[in-house]
């Protein structure tokens, strides 16, 4: 390793998204600004939710943090290091917007894949526990093609959690779920997260989900994405589902919805 760069070594943040912009060059040669300057710092053990209209660059930010894309401007550091080193050390958990399960593996083997890749022994007990947590006990030998969209998403969440990652990235993980299952999964995720306090970045379209799960909610503008609002969520942990019926929850939800809406009007 090279000597730490003074700029690099000094931040106390777990994830430091430092004035990051992303421009894609399209096939026809035009360039598309997906993310304008986004400056977002996430503490160790903090849960941050990202809200914003479709196409504003939320997934792109997640992909930048996961080192799947390189920023065009600015830089990203995770624990003061290149984001790539995190995935290389098998310390990153990602649940993609499309579940990305391998069709030729059973549910169990899909969840066990990170163990194989990391060269670690498969912990069958942990797989069984996580399957229980995401409500898929009895499906360990099913194939992805035999599951519903929501079940596949839950498998991919279990896979993201399997190695006890230090950073968890969730891209609309509950998008394909019905309201009841979604609420149930929120409660479960909140519980798992409460036990392990993984530094997490969640992309969601649900204001309620963001408020229930996160310590901080960020609202982005329509494309090109910029941060337009950031609110700290005051609710104590562990949070019970009832918190969603309090007046404070409702007023925060209204505030976030309002922050989202003018952008939607401008985008159309």
């Amino acid at each position: 390793m090279s000597a730490p760069h003074p700029q690099v070594s000094s931040t106390p943040w777990a994830i430091d998204i430092d004035h990051v912009g992303k421009v894609f060059t399209l096939d026809n040669g035009e360039s598309l600004v997906a993310v304008d300057t986004v400056d977002l710092k996430i503490e160790k053990g903090e849960f941050v939710a990202l809200l914003g209209p479709s196409g504003c660059g939320k997934s792109t930010i997640l992909r930048l943090v996961a080192a799947l894309e390189d920023p065009t401007t600015g830089r990203i550091a995770i624990e003061n290091r290149d984001p790539l080193s995190l995935s290389r050390q098998h310390r990153l958990g990602v649940a993609f917007q499309d579940h990305a399960l391998l069709p030729w593996l059973s549910v169990k083997n899909n969840i066990a894949l990170p163990y194989k890749v990391a060269g670690r022994p498969v912990d069958h007990e942990r797989i069984a526990d996580l399957l229980g947590l995401v409500g898929l006990k009895g499906f360990e030998n099913a194939r992805p093609s035999q599951l519903s969209g929501g079940m596949r998403q839950r498998v991919s969440i279990a896979r993201a959690l399997i190695l006890n990652p230090d950073v968890l990235l969730l891209d609309e993980p509950f998008g394909a779920l019905d309201a009841v299952t979604r609420r149930h999964m929120n409660v479960e995720l909140q519980r798992i997260w409460g036990e392990e306090r993984i530094t997490s970045l969640l992309v969601t379209h649900s204001v309620e989900e963001a408020l229930f799960l996160a310590d901080r909610v960020i609202v982005m503008s329509g494309r090109p994405g910029r941060v337009v609002k950031s609110i700290a969520v005051p609710f104590e942990r562990p949070r019970r589902p009832e918190v969603q019926r309090t007046a404070e929850f409702h007023s925060l939800a209204d505030e976030l919805t309002l922050a989202l809406e003018p952008e939607e009007a401008a985008a159309s």
Binding site: A66, Q89, D98, A100, V117
Partner: protein, 253 residues
């Protein structure tokens, strides 16, 4: 489920009907000499084929030809997969290998056969042509199959920190499997063509030799018997590969 079963049953019935119709036509054309003297009745060919005194002749020819087909097939398969894997891992080799494969494929086997006879021997020329044919089909199928993994899956392997080799073993190879099995199916007739064509060029054994000598001596039932054996074997192997293909497609996609 019921619907799919019924569809399958209809397919099967139509298939059997088609084959039956073909065989009846064969018999009728032969019986009324519609295509001249060189088109025998199916029943005559079958009687000739199953005549006990000729069993040894046909079995020996089948043994010789099918062992060449099998050896050429396996050799072409192994070389095709190995080369496809090699150019997939060491990408700069790919354009050269692609060009080599297409050039080899573009040369008619008829033109290559004399060279093989000189280089190798008459006996294995059929196998060598079969190997070349199979190699090309398998190489093309496997190289494209190895690139058929989706972006989502490649991203997954990146974020879980997979090495190149791990990704190759756990993603690229399984993703290539359906394409490979389709290639293996189309390589079957390619192997038969190669092996039998090779035997035409003066091999001392095999169905190809039977065909040539029957043709030269105007032994029409013998010629048709040899053709019938080769076609039936090729069709059966092709059918078996189709079943495997269906299974693999259901499982790997």
């Amino acid at each position: 489920m019921m619907k799919i079963d019924r569809e399958k049953a209809t397919d099967l019935v139509l298939g059997v009907l088609g084959i039956g119709l073909f065989l009846v036509l064969w018999e009728v054309i032969g019986a009324y000499r519609l295509a001249g003297l060189t088109w025998p009745k199916l029943s005559d060919v079958l009687a000739f084929l199953f005549e006990p005194s000729r069993q040894g002749l046909f079995l020996r020819a089948m043994g010789a030809s099918f062992s060449m087909v099998a050896a050429g097939y396996v050799l072409g398969l192994v070389i095709g997969i190995a080369m496809a894997a090699l150019v997939h891992v060491i990408n700069p080799l790919r354009p050269g290998m692609d060009r080599f494969a297409s050039v080899v494929n573009a040369i008619p086997p008829i033109a290559l056969a004399p060279i093989f006879i000189v280089l190798l021997s008459r006996e294995v020329t059929g196998m060598a042509i079969a190997t070349l044919n199979v190699f090309f089909v398998i190489y093309v199928a496997t190289t494209s199959g190895l690139q058929s993994s989706t972006r989502g899956h490649r991203d997954l392997f990146a974020v879980i920190g997979a090495s190149k080799i791990r990704r190759f073993m756990s993603l690229d190879m399984p993703a290539a499997f359906p394409a490979l099995v389709s290639g293996m199916k189309y390589a079957i007739p390619a192997a038969f063509i190669g092996a039998i064509l090779g035997e035409w060029f003066g091999s001392s054994r095999g169905l190809g030799l039977l065909m040539v000598s029957a043709m030269q001596n105007f032994q029409i039932p013998l010629l048709w018997s040899a053709v019938l054996i080769a076609s039936t074997a090729s069709l059966l192997a092709f059918g078996a590969m189709s079943l495997l293909e269906r299974f693999v497609y259901g499982r790997f996609r």
